[in-house]
Amino acid sequence: MSVDTDLSSYADTQEGAAKRDPELLRRLAPFLLRGGAILAFIAVFVFFAVSAPFFFTAGNIGNVLAQSAIPGVLVIGLTIVMIAGGSNVVTGGMDLSLAANMGLSAAVYATLSQAGHGDAAAIAGALATGLAVGAVNAAAVVLAGIIPLLATLAVMNVVAGFELVLTQNTVIPAASDFLSILSALGPFGIPALAYVLVGFTAIVALIVQNTPFGLRLYAVGEFPEAARAAGLSVRPFVAGSFVASGFCGGVAGILSASYLSGSTTGAGEMLLPVVVTALLGTVFSRRLVPTVTGTLLSALFVGFLINGFQLLNISSTLVSGVQGLLILLVVSATTLLNRREMQ
């Protein structure tokens, strides 16, 4: 048939009209944003490396990795929720209960440990706590139909309350061989937590970025109708993402119990950095969607930022200001981009 040539022109009839400047900008914007993010990362890195001599040493980088392990694991959980729920900040996937979840999981770990239970029981307890919180979130979102932002906000308060009840708002110390191994240095003098972060990221990245399951997770979040048309059920994916995120909260609880040698109050303060980091993560991906590797980059970016500030003796109160600014920047940039795409 002679249709072929015609059909190819079918596809580009709209091109002519589209070749105008705003169109070009629209196409370039994602690259600029992404390039800008990576440039900012490099600039921050170089700046600190030059101005703080200790910054660019294996020891310090290992430290940053280790310090980023706990927020990193939490952010990965949030990333999964954002993938499955869509990245609209208000109506999309969001898990505000993650930081509180970590606090409760750590408290459960420490309490079990104090009560004389072994590591295995304490680990199981912490993970079960995380999963349970995730399951409650899943039920609130999928069964009750509450938007994730509000559902997880409510769950966050409940979970924080549980933690207070359990710990009486005190520090519960915990010590065990397992916790010591986690908080010690691993091979090549780099903290074990750094390896945990890299290993955890690698595993989740493999699942999310490279399996059919991961691809479907993206479809469900970004365009539920398309997912349904492809024969997928949306709700199990969304529910699953909250359970996975709860699991991450449990894992982070164990890491935190090790890092702080027990459970301390104030886990909720981790919330803002975690949300910043997750939102920032999207600009580290080519398609401007949440990705696990983008999230790792963004967690490290935030980690290096905080570390650099500390090395330069800049007040730590500035850090949360900078984080707030980053949220504004990233969210407005991606929102503007999306709005332009809609037009």
Binding site: L7, S8, A11, Q14, A17, R27, L215, E225, A226, E341
Partner: protein, 514 residues
């Protein structure tokens, strides 16, 4: 109809639905509808909104279960269909909305739901997906896209190709197209038709659902007309016409499809002289009179669209003048145009014509808020009064003037878009594709409304690519080709075919009209 592939056997019925009844709660969606589709044909399915088209199709897709009636696929009876069963039977659906994930690559979008894995691992075989995607797109469509191309970067037409390809991957026996041309420009639709014919010639049976009766006439082999939940006729296309199909759909005479009021034509209200915009249109000169309905048509790129946008201040022209009531005006912005008594009812009403999340009353008074404002506050009572008055006059079907516009049907949304300007006492109405995507009954109401605008002494300019519509409701029709007005027709003395020839640039006596 072309019988290019003589080898394809066109016998037997692939789909036979007989006496289908379906109730939803208290209301009856289908009351004994039948549809039988012969193998290897393109079968049209038409009907107004509410006639039961979508219920029948959802039933065929296994999404609803019939209360009574028989279903036979390939001669085998089925008690009930499920989505899974339907897919196994080789029936696939191309939805009106392009259900593709924007951030996916072409390969990912094509294989979502049945992703190939690297053998022996749980991981996606992205390379195979890319290779297969390139292969299929090349073979069927001669389309080459970079492996890294994302759905979001594709044109509407390309997205539709991907959507069709998704179905073709299943080696379908039957393809059901649901309003596939709704978002396509004329030329793209033409090429889609060629593709559909080719699929038919390869032995695929096609069910084609559309609002556009001329498409049905051009493309289909047979057509079934639904009305009030039953099939009122199944016709061979060779033995019928778009007008007859339309008349069957609404149960009216052909002559009632395009209501046209006799209106005395008055003085010039809008005069455009030598309007030029480099690369878009040049030397455009015409005038519009009081009480006159003037049609304007042209292919994509003919400049007709751009001209209309210029008149309303959405685009700027290079040179030329625009006179309203004998006074030269400069429509540099939509606000200036509105001040000069111009009203634009845009094509994409959902985006530009109405505010979907506002109520009918709020929309109706949106363009004339100053009239309802006292000391900076809105006079809600006056607003609502005016809105109710408009709802009444335009026969807008709504649960009340406080209902949100997004809950209305397309035709009623369009009426709200027109109402917005009525309350401003505009004198010149520019309507851009006023009946796109609305059903035939709503069309008739919109035509009546346009006639009423003219009867009230307004000048109406209708930009449309529905040529039957232009012949039916306008007084004169201007045809643009490559940026110039090339023909002027007196609508009552011409036919859609003759306008079409001019639209395509085939008119032998090219002349410029003044």
């Amino acid at each position: 109809m072309s019988d290019a592939a003589g080898t394809v056997v066109r016998s037997g019925e692939v789909i036979r639905l007989e006496g289908i009844v379906k109730h939803f709660g208290g209301s009856t969606a289908l009351s004994g509808a039948s549809l039988s589709v012969r193998r290897g044909t393109i079968h049209g399915l038409v009907g107004q909104n509410g006639a039961g088209k979508s219920t029948l199709i959802k039933l065929l897709a296994g999404l609803h279960r019939q209360d009574a009636g028989e279903i036979e696929i390939e001669g085998k009876p089925y008690d009930r269909l499920t989505p899974h069963l339907v897919e196994e039977l080789g029936i696939h659906f191309i939805h009106q909305d392009r259900l593709l994930v924007p951030s996916f690559t072409v390969g990912e979008a094509l294989f979502l739901g049945r992703e190939p894995r690297i053998p022996g691992t749980p991981f996606l075989d992205r390379r195979l997906m890319q290779r297969r995607a390139a292969e299929i797109l090349g073979r069927y469509f001669g389309l080459r896209l970079p492996n890294s191309a994302l759905i979001a970067e594709l044109s509407t037409a390309e997205k539709q190709i991907i959507q069709i390809t998704r179905a073709l991957l299943n080696q379908p026996k039957v393809l059901v197209f649901d309003e596939p041309t709704a978002a396509l420009v004329h030329r793209e639709a033409e090429i889609l038709f060629r593709l559909i014919r080719r699929l038919r010639d390869e032995g695929i049976t096609v069910v084609y659902i559309s609002h556009y009766l001329n498409e049905i006439e051009e493309l289909c082999d047979a057509v079934t007309v639904l009305r009030n939940g039953r099939d009122v006729a199944t016709l061979e296309i060779g033995e019928t016409s778009a007008a007859e199909i339309g008349a069957l759909m609404v149960n009216r005479d052909v002559s009632e499809l395009y209501p046209k009021r006799e209106v005395a034509i008055g003085g010039t209200v809008l005069k455009v002289e030598g309007l030029s915009s480099p690369g878009r249109y040049e030397g455009v000169t015409f005038s519009l009179h009081k009480g006159e309905i003037l049609g304007l048509t042209g292919l994509l790129g003919s400049g007709a669209k751009e001209l209309v946008r210029t008149l309303f201040g959405l685009e700027q022209s290079g040179e030329g003048t625009v006179e309203v009531n004998g006074k030269v005006v400069w429509t540099a912005s939509p606000a200036a145009a509105a001040r000069n008594k111009l009203a634009l009812v845009p094509e994409d009403r959902r985006r530009h014509g109405v505010a979907l999340d506002l109520s009918v009353a709020e929309n109706a008074t949106l363009a004339s808020l100053s009239r309802f404002t006292r000391f900076g506050f809105l006079d809600r009572t006056a607003e609502i009064l005016q809105a109710e008055n408009l709802v009444d006059r335009l026969q807008i079907k709504t649960n009340g003037s406080d209902a949100l516009v997004k809950t209305l049907s397309g035709g009623n949304q369009q009426k709200v878009a027109i109402a917005k300007w009525l309350s401003r006492h505009s004198e010149i109405y520019i309507l851009d594709e006023p009946t796109v995507g609305v059903d035939i009954a709503a069309k008739i109401e919109i035509y009546t409304l346009i006639g009423e605008l003219a009867a009230r002494g307004a000048g109406v300019l209708v930009l449309s690519s529905d040529l039957d519509e232009l012949v039916g409701i306008t007084d004169r029709t201007l045809v643009m080709f490559r940026g110039r007005i090339v023909r002027e027709f007196v609508s009552s003395e011409t036919s859609a075919d003759r306008i079409l020839a001019a639209v395509a640039g085939a008119s032998e006596t090219l002349r410029h009209v003044g």
